[in-house]
Amino acid sequence: MKLSKRFWGFIIAALVIYAVVQVLITTGTLNPFYSNTLIFICINIMLAVSLHLVIGITGQFSIGHAGFLALGAYLSAIVTMKLHLPFILALIVGGIVAAFAGLIVGIPTLRLRGDYLAIATLGFAEIIRIIFLNIEYVGGAAGMQVKHMTTWTYAFISLVITIIIISNFTNSRHGRACIAIREDEIAADAMGINTTYYKVLAFVIGAFFAGIAGGLYAHNFYIIQPQNFGFLKSFDILIFVVLGGLGSLSGSVISAILLTLVSTFLQEYPETRMILYSVVLILVMLYRPQGLMGTKEITDVVANLRSKRREAS
């Protein structure tokens, strides 16, 4: 009862945000710079939330998320620019190919733990980048021209679907299995949870949404180049999740919004931005390793406050 109430509340809030922004865009109150920033925020939230499922919920430390972003971006660009098929199909193809890559990457590497898994996923992302760098069909190092097709509608609908699916997954039986793996893999195994299956499942779902985000990303920037998908991009996504709190979906959404705004305003000073990012990351790890929200969700915080007030009165 409570959960369904929360779900409908979320849907209504999403509709309201969508309608307000859409009206602002069509009436021209928001200039293209701001609407682009909003689309970029949507893409970054999708990336953050999809990585949150892998790192925050399942506890598998993957630092190669940009690899899936790259796959989604290139594949969807091929579908629209080379095969001239519709954009919506391109997004789905990008997502499916990235999910498939996640499956191939995940089955062998998720046997590894901690540091080794991190390095292996980083290695896979680098391999994907180097492969695109060497394929002439997609322009090699010079990159690939892509038409601007991503609109606020596409970005926002994809975002809402991503959040709904990932939060429902987290609250389902499968999600609880993933959380059990995060807490203690050996104990989870002993309780009869098929740990490999759930780790790969979370990884594939994460890769799928990263792939869709990649499709939106490619069609928002006119050009995609392999160098956009290097280690730094993976790091950008990682910092959303870490800063927001490992295990908190709303935390990663909030930090994705905040950091995207910060980096948009610091666009002309990329060094300052990176120094700021890395200092924030180090300080958060030293003094608040659980991140902004810890494993709590924003709804828990609100409910807590409310019950406290009721006790007081």
């Binding site: 290695g123 060094e271 120094i275 890395s278 180090i282």
Partner: protein, 292 residues
């Protein structure tokens, strides 16, 4: 004879990887942390050597020593400022801090200096080619190999024969027991960082002389590859890092000699994934069972 020449080039390249990998492996052995900032220490070593050679007009050996000294100071600073507080926290927190530290050094360096690359002077080491039984070997490659081997022997001596080396081995085996035996664990860990970083600094100078081009972001890829070398040999095992570095250097050189030079960087990661799948403990490592 072509391939023999390539193998010798590969060994010289591998000796650079091996020197960096030694730092990774020593640090991992003692505090179980992948020190991502190690590649940046390597970069600082390359730039210190450059400044010493070009601006202070020193010859190769003093430049090398200055670079090694500077790097060991930097390494100890990184450890004292960031990693020391994280010893009791989770592995992920430590790893994220290391990544943050790496980026912080890179971009702080770019902020104050700019991102443009610098060309190492060509005349630091004698540039001649020797002809040994029809194999053309550049003097530079041989000298690089010689210096690396001297440094590795020195390291083996320190670790095996001196008091601080014994302390390092004890701490990496069991930190608490070592502390009970009266070993100063903090100082031992700092000494490990100092030695590992000094080797990375030496690797930086050698890299600069061999490849002639250095830039503030140069540490990332060699750093990651050296980590691959350390894993390949068995992380935490000093001879393993040397062998892993040499193997990686040879494989990379052969891959580019076979005409796949663009895929050279991918070779290291493919090796990494294969080794992690089939022998995760590395060539020299022993398989250990995980206890509950």
């Amino acid at each position: 004879m072509e391939w023999l020449q390539q193998i010798i080039n590969g060994i010289s390249l591998g000796s650079i990887y091996a020197l960096i990998a030694l730092g990774y492996t020593m640090v991992y052995g003692i505090i179980k942390l992948i020190n991502f900032a190690h590649g940046e220490v390597f970069m600082i070593g390359a730039f210190t050597g450059f400044v010493a050679i070009v601006h202070f007009e020193l010859s190769f050996v003093p430049a090398l020593i200055i670079a090694m000294f500077t790097c060991s100071v930097v390494g100890v600073l990184i450890e004292r400022i960031a990693y020391k507080r994280l010893r009791e926290s989770t592995r992920i927190a430590a790893l994220i801090t290391a990544i943050g530290m790496s980026l912080f050094i890179q971009y702080l360096f770019i902020y104050f200096r700019g991102a443009e690359p610098e060309a190492y002077p060509q005349d630091v080491l004698p540039e001649r080619t020797l002809d040994i039984f029809g194999v053309k070997v550049s003097m530079q490659a041989l000298l690089i190999l010689f210096i690396s081997i001297v440094l590795m022997i020195l390291l083996q001596f320190i670790v095996q024969k001196t008091k601080i080396g014994r302390a390092m081995r004890a701490v990496s085996y069991d930190k608490d027991a070592a502390r009970l035996m009266g070993i100063n664990v903090d100082n031992t860990i700092s000494a490990t960082f100092a030695i590992g970083s000094a080797l990375a600094g030496a690797a930086g100078v050698i890299f600069g002389i061999y490849y002639t081009k250095i830039d503030p972001l140069m540490g990332l890829i060699p750093g990651l590859k050296a980590f691959v070398a350390a894993v390949l040999g068995g992380i935490g095992i000093i001879p393993g890092a040397m062998v892993g570095g040499f193997i990686l250097g040879i494989v990379e050189t052969l891959v580019s000699a076979a005409g796949f030079s663009l895929f050279r960087d991918a070779a290291a990661f493919i090796i990494l994934i294969l080794i992690l799948l089939f022998r995760p403990a590395g060539i020299f490592g022993k398989n250990t069972k995980e206890k509950v």
